[in-house]
Subunit: 405 residues, 2 copies
């Protein structure tokens, strides 16, 4: 049984012992007061590291760089910039990713293969390396620096996304913190985003990697903002072991607690990412029950959460449930129309495939809240899944019709 | 070698000899002067019939009804209504589809299994059968009636889509006409739409069905407006043989001419559908060359044409080509980034995977025209494909956030 997991108020990646962080304005984003665009997360103690990456066939050189470090299994930090994605710039991109990691390693006094590197922003523009190098020197690392990292990672995000939890392992209090960015170009797999998670738990690296993949599949990979998959998506976990527990592996009593904490951190950040989708005014949660299997449930949940027509209807608080059925039908999930029940924020509006007379004004009022929940019971089996997304607004179009111009 | 195919000015389904058509306002759409919502296309001579249908798992009862008639291979007409989709209404929908076809057959004095039936509009609302029955009586069939059918089929379409061509078979002049509707909920497969094609060519039914499927895969199934697949998509071809040619089959000298004519009619209507996508201001054409195979080319073309980020950038006439690469990368098509060339309306802006310095203002000016063409050469093989779509505008969101309310 998993122990209690508590959320820490104002928690972030540096709420975890042994992790320092800092950020600066290096000049990659358009200048504004207090704007940050280059950041470091650092642990003096060597960390077990795990990562999951975009499945796009066109990726930033940072993705290949990080895959190698994650395969090695350990690292001490991450350097990240926002504003420029370092993607589709030819050979120069590989050199710049290495140089950026090396510059951070030099500043931190660690080996060049101990720092992971991530970039996010416009595709097809080279990193201005002299700005990166001089920015690196300006970064001050502090044990309260996590909040600055969360802000420095933002592109079209309107607010930082961060969280921390605490839970018990072997009678010792363990902490886990996370930050994430991502607002547009968000769709499984990976959801288009960067997320960094820190923990002072001692964790077996193979176990950490396996659990990160599982949890990502149920959180970040069930997130969709606009159906577009980024070239740079990356989730990294750094576990420095300072809590002093015996290393957690698949056989540990604490395995379940650790997985549950990782899941709660990732789901929390996933929901924050969905809520802050470009132009979004509402969070959409789609819960599928009774699918033939888990994969069918996942397909259905993601299809509905990513439908432009469903998203537009949610924006208009319009209970046009035919679109939910359309999005279910298009995705290939096996259904029997005559068995489907559909609930909107708890109100049944379709039962056994037939419309239920419902009080329209009441459902419209429910849909005007900050979260719209579609729950479908397919009555075909035991498959369950949840996906998150957001509504589609004029603001999304305005943001994205003039991003580089 | 295919003979010359000429477009007929103002052509439509009744530009073909032996086809009559008519439409009326039965009361399914909100009333407006000159509004039409119920229509019939009719040939007194029995026609070879072919059809392709939505691949959604949730479909209108009309789809099952028509599949049976197409399997039988012959029919004399089609009845169609707009405003209500007759989908997701339980058992009643099957009864209403049959009754609507039967009412049309009775009016036309033909067998109940000789009239196909299509519906398009809001999902989850029952057809008001008494309005349908009394509307049916008001329809006057005429040899100029095709234009009214094209208008009666419209839902959120802003204009009718129709076309006719003429070409020679066995020294005889043959004609082919087509109408289509569809504006939202449009994505392969089938692109969300209804299309009816008439021809006076004599055509072997099996050949007609095979060619319709092939041509649809290169036209309607390469169309995307919003990534959503309708429950009612249907394309039907009726060939009444009045041109007096010897029936065309796979071995005929005229096989190629016929296929080319069918292709030109379908591609013309596909482009018209894309251009009139909900809220659209521009047509997007994506041409993929040099993919490893045809399927890879199709995937890439459709992924790019359906990307919300690409569509938003086209709306803003923003040459943010990184998004085109992102949409290519996300779709699973095999690429080598260092080989890719990208052209925007004929101007090369990326060569061998690296940005080419281009005159930004000139490309923006090109993108401000009525059609934006992205051409990608992947240099991996011989696979080619073209997809069509439209830009994403605030107007799309406005239309779809309040469709039923």
């Amino acid at each position: 049984m998993a122990g209690a997991i508590e959320f820490l108020e104002g928690g972030t990646v540096t709420s975890v012992q042994g992790f320092l962080a800092g950020a600066t304005f290096a000049g990659l984003k358009t200048f504004a007061e207090d704007k940050l665009d280059l950041a470091i997360i650092f642990s003096e103690t060597l960390c077990a590291v795990a990562g999951v990456f975009t499945k796009s066939t066109i990726v930033s050189p940072t993705v290949g760089f990080n895959r190698k470090l994650v395969a090695k299994g350990s690292a001490k930090g991450v350097v990240v910039n926002a504003g420029i994605a370092n993607t589709c710039v030819g050979e120069q991109g590989f050199k710049d990713a290495e140089d950026m990691a090396a510059a951070a390693a030099q500043k931190l006094g660690v080996g060049a293969d101990e720092v992971l590197v991530c970039s996010t922003g416009v595709i097809g523009v080279e990193l201005p390396m002299s700005l990166i190098r001089s920015g690196m020197e300006q970064i001050n690392l502090a044990d309260q620096g996590g909040h600055d990292v969360a802000r420095a990672m933002m592109t079209t995000d309107t607010r930082p996304k961060e969280v921390a939890v605490t839970f018990e392992v072997d009678g010792k209090q363990v902490r886990m913190g996370g930050v994430a960015k991502g607002s547009g170009m968000i769709h499984p797999n990976m959801a288009t985003m960067l997320s960094f998670i820190t923990t002072d738990a001692a964790v077996d690296q193979a176990f950490l990697q396996a659990k990160l993949r599982e949890v990502s599949d149920e959180s970040y990979n069930m997130l969709t903002v606009d159906g577009d998959t980024s070239t740079n998506d990356t989730v990294l976990v750094l576990a420095n072991g300072l809590a002093g527990n015996s290393p957690i592996n698949a056989g540990s009593a604490a395995a379940e607690s650790f997985e549950e904490a990782l899941s709660q951190v990732c789901v929390h950040l996933t929901r924050e990412l969905a809520r802050d989708g470009e132009g979004a005014s509402r969070l959409i949660t789609v819960e599928i029950g009774g699918a033939q299997d888990k994969e069918d449930a996942r397909k259905a949940a993601r299809s509905i959460a990513s439908s432009n027509l469903v998203k537009s209807a949610v924006y208009g608080a319009d209970p046009n449930w035919g679109r939910v059925l359309m999005a279910l039908g298009r995705c290939g999930t096996i259904v029997d129309e005559a068995k489907i029940d559909l609930y909107v924020n708890g109100v049944c509006i379709m039962e056994s495939g037939k419309p239920v007379p419902f009080h329209r004004d009441a459902v419209v009022a429910l849909m005007q809240g900050s979260e719209v929940i579609f729950r479908l019971q397919l009555h075909m089996g035991q498959g369950e899944a949840t996906a998150w997304g957001c509504d589609l607004t004029e603001e999304y179009v305005i943001i994205n019709s003039a991003y580089t111009t």
